[in-house]
């Protein structure tokens, strides 16, 4: 612990004599825990403004064509119905700015006659009660002019798509090296459509005050962006929109944007002059916004007979919608995980009639690892090497793509620690060599990585008249533990017990913050809070030394000790009272530390254009991990059960191991679901996601998950963040699916290259 403290103090942070037993790095229980375990945390749809009406969406039953007309013979007249918004009645809203900061010039149409995917919103029915709105929505029927639809990537009408040049990567001559390689391997790997499935479904409550002030209660991973979107849609100043999101029931990438139903709800509220709650039903969450796109990758490896890579040739593609482009970049892990003198990766996007895919935990890296970590495993068997050994043999000692050293890369340590705890050395290399009764047992390993994203942040820290400390930010907590680690950060900098710190988050009236995405929030917000808290501490000391009312004014000193909530032995509260002040307040940002211009801070919070690349600067900064997984496969049924997991992860310095471990386990569990269960299934005749509910789209249950052991092998990385931590949240899902597939191969001798690994693929 003192080692970590030393990194902190090294020329960057003035510690003075703040208390030992530093809160940051401690296993502090969640400070929002009490509210959550008592059912007292209020989520977006649980607010209850007076006179609230309920909106229910109606979706297209065709995947392509035109909505000719709605037949609302009974819907409009149904009991309690106040308003029906359709493509004909919903006004055009103003264009909005995207996450790259580009504002379109076309009006925003939340409801249109042109249908491009099954489930697209075609109307919203608003009534006094939820039951009335639901039933009236059911009565609304539509007539369509049906056009041929591209149901998915297997559809015969699917085109070749478009190459995404911006993500292509190459060095050396992969084609030639492959051609000449003594050992060659080429395979195709596929991942299906996958969904975020937060247990809190999407939705919002919109309430207007007059014609120009809008309040929105909506779960949000990106307060600044979503507030700005609402403001733009309705041509309001940013300050006239208030987005409130203190609690979010899971996001995993799906709650960072305003979707058309948000515009619809806000418009309905405006027209009705009543607050409107729009709850997206669980089945509707499969089409109201996108999850992870279906991907396909071709990986060719060329190697020596000793298993040294000579070439990697990678070709990837993902489905996108016919209206917008989402790139699920599949080359990232292939480019960085191993050392290879020759590399080529290209990626294209292929339009199909689906809702535009979007972000789901580790977009890009997740499917990328699926392919390369399966391929390298296949190579291991091809050349007769242990799968762990081949990974070590091809260890990349620097970033070959950016040609930069790693800032920190504890991947060897992760392999070593994980292998030791797992007992990997006892592994019999031959497939089908381990069994127990009817179960074939397999052990697999795979690595994962996630880039360090960094954006400037800001935070306000207050010392209050009662001696309490308050941290204030529009940053959010969706379960990653933001409330807690920010309290720990302020507590440490100010030398107060964590219990004395309250944290207010998730409100657009609070100091803005960047998106809780890309696993960046903890690093940037702890840095901002740390800075603001130290500033508050400095101000406290300055007042102590110089303020006319200070009891310590006559000290011949240039500093005063601050510890245990006291300045020079006097309680903060009493001290402020003596000064005649009710608070000290410091707002600080970290633009300077990130080398980002602070000319347009709003751009920093509401776009991703200032987000630093992981290779920004002289080093390449990523988190790393190694997963060791044991599976039991029933030899007759083909059912796969994960029986043991040991994962070792390098996320740099850990601010709160208790919470980080929960994130790690959570990501691993999501990876298990991805590997064995999750798949959006499309009816090829009509483009409908046929399993749009939690009984048919299967996520892991408690019974699917064994004990999971996670080991932290990270060391503080000052390049990654001021306080030394690297990204935590998305890393753990990366590499889990290939580790499981590798284990299944070891168990059965069957290599499955398309997820999920269901019994029907193994039963043979």
């Amino acid at each position: 612990m003192s080692g970590q403290a030393d990194v902190l103090t090294e020329g960057r942070v003035k510690r003075g004599d703040a208390g030992d037993g530093a809160p940051l790095g401690a296993r502090v229980s969640r400070i929002d825990g009490m509210a959550k375990i008592r059912g007292a945390a209020t989520y977006a749809l649980e607010h209850r403004p007076a006179e609230m009406a309920h909106a229910v969406l109606v979706g297209s039953t065709i995947a392509a064509g035109k909505l000719r007309r709605l037949l609302d013979t009974s819907a409009a007249a149904a009991p309690g119905v106040r308003l029906i918004l359709t493509a004909d009645t919903m006004p055009d809203l103003r264009p909005v700015t995207n996450w790259l900061g580009v504002r379109g010039d076309k009006p925003y149409r939340a409801l249109t006659h042109t249908i491009t995917f099954q489930g697209q919103h075609i109307a919203a029915v608003v009534a006094d009660t939820l039951e009335q709105a639901t039933e009236a929505a059911r009565l609304l029927k539509a007539e369509y002019d049906i056009a041929p639809a591209i149901a998915d990537l297997d559809d015969s009408k699917v085109g070749p798509g478009t190459e995404v040049d911006a993500v292509a990567m190459a060095w050396g001559d992969a084609d030639a090296a492959l051609e000449a390689a003594p050992v060659k391997l080429q395979q195709e790997y596929a991942t299906p459509r996958e969904y975020n499935v937060p247990i809190e479904p999407h939705g919002l409550i919109a309430a207007w005050e007059g014609a120009d002030r809008l309040t929105v209660w909506e779960p949000s991973q990106w307060i600044a962006f979503m507030t700005r979107t609402y403001a733009e849609l309705f041509d309001l100043p940013f300050e006239n929109v208030r987005l409130i999101s203190p609690y979010i029931g899971g996001g995993f990438g799906s709650k960072a944007f305003v979707y058309p139903y948000g515009a619809i709800a806000a418009q309905a509220a405006k027209q009705l002059g009543r607050p409107v709650k729009l709850a997206v039903t669980r089945p509707q969450t499969f089409t109201a916004f996108g999850g992870r796109a279906e991907t396909r990758q071709k990986v060719a490896l060329g190697a020596t007979r000793d298993g040294k890579l000579l070439a990697i040739r990678h070709r990837g593609l993902n489905e996108t919608s016919v209206t917008d482009t989402w790139v699920e970049r599949c080359g990232e892990v292939a480019a960085l995980m191993y050392a290879t003198p020759n590399f080529s990766s290209k990626h294209r996007v292929v339009p199909v009639n689906t809702v535009t895919p979007s972000a789901l935990r580790a977009p890009g890296e997740n499917p990328s690892a699926w392919a390369i970590e399966s391929a390298i495993d296949e190579l291991a068997y091809e050349v007769g090497l242990d799968p762990l050994e081949i990974r070590l043999r091809n260890y990349a000692d620097h970033d070959h793509h950016a040609d930069k050293p790693w800032s920190t890369r504890q991947l060897r340590e992760a392999f070593a620690a994980g292998a030791e705890r797992f007992g990997w050395s006892k592994r019999n290399p031959a497939p089908r060599s381990m069994r127990n009764g009817h179960h074939l047992i397999g052990w697999g390993v795979a690595a994962g990585m996630y880039p360090m994203r960094r954006t400037a942040g800001q935070a306000m820290v207050r010392i209050l008249g009662d001696g309490g400390v308050e941290v204030v930010s529009a940053a959010i907590d969706m379960g990653q533990g933001t409330y807690t680690i920010l309290a720990q950060t302020a507590a440490e900098a100010l030398g107060v017990p964590v219990e004395r710190v309250t944290v207010r988050l998730g409100d657009s009236t609070l100091p803005l913050a960047p998106v809780a995405g890309g696993s960046q929030l903890a690093g940037l917000m702890t840095g901002a809070v740390h800075k603001a808290a130290l500033a508050a501490r400095d101000e406290l000391i300055g007042l102590g030394l110089n303020d006319p009312k200070s009891p310590f004014r006559d000290r011949q000193a240039n500093t005063l000790p601050v510890a245990d909530g006291r300045i020079n032995g006097m309680e903060f509260g009493a001290f402020l009272q003596a000064l005649g002040r009710d608070r000290i307040e410091c707002l600080r940002d970290t633009f300077a530390e990130n080398g980002i211009s602070s000319d347009d801070p709003f751009k920093n919070y509401a776009t991703i254009t200032t987000m630093r690349a992981p290779t920004d600067g002289e080093v390449s900064v990523h988190s790393w991990c190694a997963h060791f997984i044991e599976v039991k496969v029933d030899e007759d049924f083909g059912t796969v059960r994960v029986s043991r997991v040991v994962s070792a992860l390098d996320c740099g310095r850990i601010y709160n191991p208790k919470l980080a471990e929960s994130q790690w386990k959570g990501g691993i569990i999501m990876g298990i679901g991805q590997a064995l269960l999750e798949e959006g299934i499309v009816d090829p005749r009509n483009g409908r996601v046929i399993n749009n509910n939690l009984g048919d789209y299967l996520i892991a249950t408690n019974a699917d998950i064994p004990e999971i052991e996670v080991i932290s092998v990270g060391v503080p990385d000052p390049h990654a963040s001021v306080l030394g931590g690297k990204g935590v949240g998305e890393l753990p899902i990366v590499g889990v699916a290939p580790a499981i597939a590798n284990a299944v191969f070891h168990a059965t001798g069957k290599r499955i290259r398309d997820l999920p690994i269901t019994l029907e693929k193994l039963i043979g």
Binding site: G33, G39, G250, N693
Partner: protein, 157 residues
């Protein structure tokens, strides 16, 4: 279509609550929309996630597939009624073991866990896993949930 309304007298967390609702109103919506008890969560409204778990006459059930009318004359317990003065041991164990992250499935997990222990289905980790599988958690708090229930079950023995 019927326009019938019911006047229901319900016992929620030991308190008598009267409400006028249509017969089609579920217990879940009665709690969340009519009674201001939003601790019970709606995750799917189709009986597939367990987030809406409450107790009726001491048994854990799903409020989304229960009509409000059905529970008249029965005792309904929700998360708000658990550990009103002091934390229930299961709640304390959840906090200590970090058995939640976003917190949305948590009230359902806790109500389910309290009943699971009372049913005698918390005798081993495997039993806990199986008998808690009616409560989905996407954040992946399962191992910590199991640890919390094991701890609370042992304490109760």
């Amino acid at each position: 279509m019927s326009d019938s309304m019911l006047s229901l007298s319900l016992e929620i967390n030991g308190q008598r609550r009267v409400l006028e609702v249509e017969p089609r109103v579920t217990l879940l919506d009665a709690l969340r929309e009519h009674l201001g008890l939003t601790g019970t969560k709606k995750g799917c409204d189709q009986g597939q996630c367990g987030a809406c778990t409450v107790h009726v006459d001491g048994q854990r059930v799903l409020a989304c597939l229960t009509l409000a009318a059905q529970v008249e004359g029965r005792a309904v317990a929700t998360i708000e009624g658990l550990g009103e003065r002091a934390l229930h041991p299961v709640q304390a164990a959840f906090l200590e073991n970090d058995a939640f992250q976003c917190g949305y499935c948590t009230p359902g997990q806790i109500m389910s866990a309290v009943a699971c222990i009372r049913e005698g289905h918390a005798g081993s980790d495997d039993e806990i896993r199986e008998y808690m599988s009616g409560n989905l958690c996407r954040c992946g708090a399962y191992p910590n949930i199991v640890a919390a229930i094991r701890q609370a079950a042992e304490a109760s023995r």
